[in-house]
Symmetry: C2
Subunit: 314 residues, 2 copies
């Protein structure tokens, strides 16, 4: 951690920027009538910080702005202000490694009206310690996942280019997976092919080639990163239709996410993937991902001293 | 209004029951990290009060409990407590006619964890003055609506028996409809047939018979009521697949909703329905709906005196 940071005890569990103010995470709230809640009319993007550096910060802000534009949101903040809010959240918590989610919501039309054009859009952001979809310990042995017949909300209903909160499909499939002893779940698309999981993309390694579902999935930032890493390792990587059976038959399987990086899968639908341990290609990619991140690849240092300035000003 | 009610000025715009307390609607908030927001992992049911009487109160609570059960929610409140909260909201606002929404949310797992089984489910309720999807004035001439090619979130993704908040499909279709000069919109299902609109079901009248979409639509309470009214008027009514073309060619079209009752549609996709004015069967149904409600059909009187007791106790 940068030594000019002065983390505050009240932000020890996290912080949020809400209504123009910085509040302890437990106090962060959304108006009950915000259509971001009542209609899930909202979008988000999540940036990670690892050892004091944002990863692909501008790419995440680009994608966030694209989501906002597609939902016709007008941000009350400039890009420079968003960068500033990100820095202040890191500085005020002192988190060396963090999970930062930027959120736009529709807001609320005047009481008693329902015209979404009259709503004032709202921006909020929260910051927690770095989140792992699979902890480093679980990653050592690999995840135990299932493929569900629940279909991911399709593009004919909701624009998949928007990082949205329509997740009841994921959550109900998760309950079913937990019931059956799995740790997490993958949903399928309307053709029955593998789509994505709650917060992550999936890759198969087959005969030295990387495959990841095309079509109705989020354009994941770590997924994009995997293609770059593959290129560096001279591995072929491409989009493909992947049936649940093809995924079971892969040599290796891994998940990619801002919340955990590249995470090996060792069991799928109660069958071992490969020899039932994280595969060599997965481990090479994972190792390269973290070593390059720590070396500053796609990195922007957090300005922890901004917290000092804010503290002095107040 | 019952004269024992003592409405409070701070509740003039509405009230909410949140965290065990009654607060002015503008102050009602949800934790930002509640998965009810971050994953739209929530359900609701909406009851109306007209001239001091709930309509089908127990049916709405039944449906709410069914939604909660299907999402595996554990309510912190008994049915009797929910009835009590409904009454207090009416009493404290003094609203003679009201729109009351009961909400369950997943809640939040402990900070930094993602296991939905560890979340503590939350109940909240808000109460506004009676809401009209189409005002009485608009109903006099009939609504001007379009059928969109956006597909309603399908049952393979989200259980349609649950009254949920996955509404980005509706909101984005609404923007498109507004752009083209329409007042509201109907979505279609994956076969291209008419499904439902944002907060309402649709009926066609064709050769004296009532038709309403079968399949992927909410089991609307007013829709159910229309079947009972039709029976009383000796009109045939049934579920059917209805193409956009069939709807355009109907003799009459109307919407049904807790927020507005039975609402005539006079223009669809820029074509007049019938002679372009609310049709006679629609008007008979609408008139019967309101006269029977006012006469106490399916009604339960609001206990406005509960507000007094609460005020005295505090």
């Amino acid at each position: 951690m940068n030594d000019v940071s002065r983390p505050e005890a009240r932000f020890a569990d996290g912080i949020a920027f809400v209504d123009g103010d910085y509040v302890p995470i437990a106090e962060a709230k959304l108006p009950l009538l915000d259509y971001g809640f009542l209609r899930s009319d909202a979008c988000q993007d999540t940036i990670s910080v690892w050892k004091g550096q944002y990863f692909r910060r501008e790419d995440h802000i680009d994608r966030f702005e694209r989501s906002c534009q597609r939902l016709r949101f007008t941000s009350p903040h400039t890009r420079a202000q968003i960068r500033d809010i990100l820095d202040r959240c890191c500085a005020l918590t002192g988190f060396e490694s963090a999970y930062l989610q930027m959120i736009m919501t529709r807001g609320c039309p005047p009481i008693g009206q329902r015209d979404i054009r009259k709503a004032v859009n709202r921006f909020q952001l929260f910051c927690l310690r770095y989140v792992w979809i699979a902890s480093p310990e679980v990653q050592e042995r690999g995840l135990n996942a299932m493929v569900s017949e629940v279909r991911r909300v399709p593009p004919q209903s909701v624009d998949p280019e928007v990082k949205h909160y329509h997740w009841l499909d994921f959550d109900m499939a998760l309950f079913s997976a937990y019931d059956q002893g799995y740790e997490t779940v993958l949903l399928t698309d309307f053709d029955g092919n593998v789509a994505e999981g709650p917060g992550f993309n999936v890759f198969a390694v087959k005969e030295g080639e990387l495959l990841t579902p095309e079509g109705n999935v989020l354009d994941g930032m770590t997924r994009r990163t995997v293609f770059e890493l593959a290129s560096e390792l001279n591995l072929k990587a491409r989009l493909a239709k992947i049936s649940p059976q093809a995924l079971q038959g892969a040599d290796e399987v891994f998940f990619s996410s801002t919340a955990g990086g590249i995470m090996p899968v060792s069991m799928l639908d109660k069958k071992a993937i490969g020899d039932g341990r994280p595969g060599p290609t997965t481990l090479r990619l994972r190792s390269l991902y973290w070593s390059k991140r720590e070396a500053g690849w796609h990195g922007t240092p957090v300005n922890y001293s901004i917290g000092m300035a804010a503290a002095k000003a107040s």
